[in-house]
């Protein structure tokens, strides 16, 4: 009889440990079936704007990107299309896989960084500045080819540490308001922040046309926007922290279809 007591305690301890493990690993995570694109949180009018390709201003950038895709430039005098051919075939599903691991960099890089890498290495041209009209146009054009494709970033032993780092940033409280991304977007989505509905923050439609900006913007711009909102120092454009966060967000939205170019309020 006395021997049974420690064993039962051991069992209780194991159950408690399992609960603790489950809560630390999965606290606040939105079940896969309950994930919703920010599209679902928008007004009927804004959804109609995104759905109509002549009303969606993001298509203006896609149109411009199509022109840039075919334009030869740089010391190499090559256009994107000289290597990649017709983007409608060659770029299908590509944006759904970014950020992707880059062996030269030894870490994942996002789509904008990939485009600039191609510019410097293959076209021997100067990289485009972040949020420049040309970089947004090319990114929108490439990502538009993946419209409808399910998000599928590749998680393997090489990318796992960066995914974990992104998740750590997501869960970390920061800024003067001492908030983590997770507190709003995992725990309080669907509720209001002032007049705005808090979405689940799935990056399904980037670059997005944001009505507040009256222009197209990248996921990094949006992330920096949120960081300023919680009164934290935003990470600089192209910083490892932002790309890790992008990787985590894309993994979190795995299987959801790409909407690029999305319209957001």
């Amino acid at each position: 009889m006395p021997a049974a007591r420690p064993r039962r305690l051991g069992l209780v301890g194991a159950v408690l440990a399992a609960i603790a493990w489950a809560t630390t690993t999965w606290a606040g995570d939105i079940p896969l079936a309950e994930r919703r694109s920010s599209y679902d949180f928008m007004s009927r009018e804004t959804r109609a704007m995104q759905d109509d390709d002549t009303a969606n201003p993001g298509l203006l950038w896609v149109l411009e990107g199509e022109g840039l895709w075919k334009r030869a430039l740089g010391d190499a005098g090559r256009a994107c299309s000289d290597c990649h051919g017709d983007a409608r075939a060659s770029m299908r599903g590509v944006a759904a896989r970014y950020p992707a691991f880059d062996p030269a960099e030894g870490r994942p890089i996002d789509l904008e960084q990939r485009i600039n890498r191609c510019r410097t290495d293959r076209q021997r041209a100067t990289p485009l500045p972040w949020e420049s009209r040309e970089l947004l146009a090319l990114t929108a054009y490439v990502a538009h080819q993946s419209r409808g494709a399910p998000i599928a970033v590749s998680i393997d032993p090489r990318t796992q540490p960066f995914l974990d780092a992104g998740r750590a940033i997501w869960d970390r409280r920061q800024g003067q308001l001492n908030l983590s991304c997770s507190q709003c977007h995992d725990d309080l989505y669907g509720r209001k922040l002032a007049g705005n509905v808090i979405p689940q923050a799935h990056p399904t439609g980037y670059p997005i046309y944001r009505l507040e900006w009256q222009t197209l913007g990248s996921l990094e711009r949006r992330l920096r926007n949120c960081l300023t909102g919680i009164r934290a120092e935003p990470y600089p454009y192209g910083s490892p922290e932002l790309v890790d966060l992008e990787l985590y967000l894309m993994w979190r939205a795995r299987g959801m279809p790409i909407e690029t170019p999305a319209v957001r309020p």
Partner: protein, 107 residues
């Protein structure tokens, strides 16, 4: 850079009311704002939009400051004959963009 998107139905029955949609990329700078250094940012807006159907004006608009960036127009017309619908946007600093779309009218 200037790009415009127009949507005109390619085919319509004679007498049918067709919807035309246009969207153009433009910053629509009001002229009322100042830069971080305090200097006035000059006005840069589209002043006028005209749509003609086989040379006949069917819709036009005068634009003013405080209209959102990337103006979007939706209007309708009666499909009378096959031909071309022309769109023309003109504005400050010599801004001028034209676009056209064919329409086929069947009985």
């Amino acid at each position: 850079m200037a790009s415009a998107l127009v949507n005109v139905p390619a085919r319509a029955r004679r007498g049918e009311i067709v919807e035309i949609k246009t969207l153009i990329s433009h910053p629509m700078e009001t002229g009322y704002r100042r830069s971080q250094l305090g200097t006035a940012i000059p006005r840069d807006i589209i002043r006028r939009f005209v749509c003609t159907y086989n040379g006949v004006e069917i819709f036009s608009a005068d634009l003013h400051p405080a209209i959102a960036a990337n103006p979007f127009f939706v209007f309708s017309t009666v499909a009378t004959e096959s031909g071309t619908i022309q769109f023309q946007w003109t504005g400050d600093s010599g801004f001028s963009v034209s676009e056209s779309a064919p329409i086929t009218v069947v009985d």
